[in-house]
Subunit: 152 residues, 2 copies
Amino acid sequence: MTHRPEHDDLPFQWRDVEVRHNDVDTDQKLTNLSLQVLFDNEHLECHVQFFDVEPGGHTALERHKHALAIVVLRGRGQCLSGAEVFDLRPHDLIEILPWDWHQFRAAPDDHLGFLCIVDKNRDRSQLPTSADLDVLVRHLGVAAFLAGSTPL
Amino acid sequence: MTHRPEHDDLPFQWRDVEVRHNDVDTDQKLTNLSLQVLFDNEHLECHVQFFDVEPGGHTALERHKHALAIVVLRGRGQCLSGAEVFDLRPHDLIEILPWDWHQFRAAPDDHLGFLCIVDKNRDRSQLPTSADLDVLVRHLGVAAFLAGSTPL
């Protein structure tokens, strides 16, 4: 049994949980986000992770065979999944299905923090080729999303 | 891909998610709580559930072989786990280990709502015998917790 509250002075950072700062380099742009693995228990088949994307930042555009269950906890942003773009706010649920391209973007003036529940036993992510990107940007709204110019 | 926001007028109730109202009868006391299964995906080894315990209510006192990963989303309350009692508030994390007795109680004047991430493939819960209860209440604070008389 473990009880891990947030630090009193650091919202969305939990006691005894390591904060890993990841730089994502996509299209020559560096963006800051952090990852905390909240639960990694030998008796549970899933990992529970928390991603915190800084204002204006984004995760990598990627796809994989495994699914993701997302619960937004903090801030505002958007999500690309498949060929659709969704506005996100706290407590929204997103299910990313196998092989759907996906990316999460924080609003320019707000964090986007979300739980990501994922099988421990999972494949590595794939990044898009230029041919993949050509197909993606034909969908309405996707080009603007990927350019970070979607109104929020 | 699915996007499920909360209903605008119903906090912690999500669009297209069934709300199951469970009555828990423990020690002759009925208490109200609801359960929503937020994610039950064929490509994910876990279920993500949301339990909402009404003010003054509680879950069953139980134990099982499977572990639970808990993320508090709403309100205030307490949790018994093993032989310890913890105050809970939003974003607190609780890991319930195999065979630890556990119970969640909402504050008298507040809901307690939490995510419960659990393996799909899991055993059934066990309820305590009177001998189990005799052992539990020897621990400091547990008798008061079980009687619902712990100050919050």
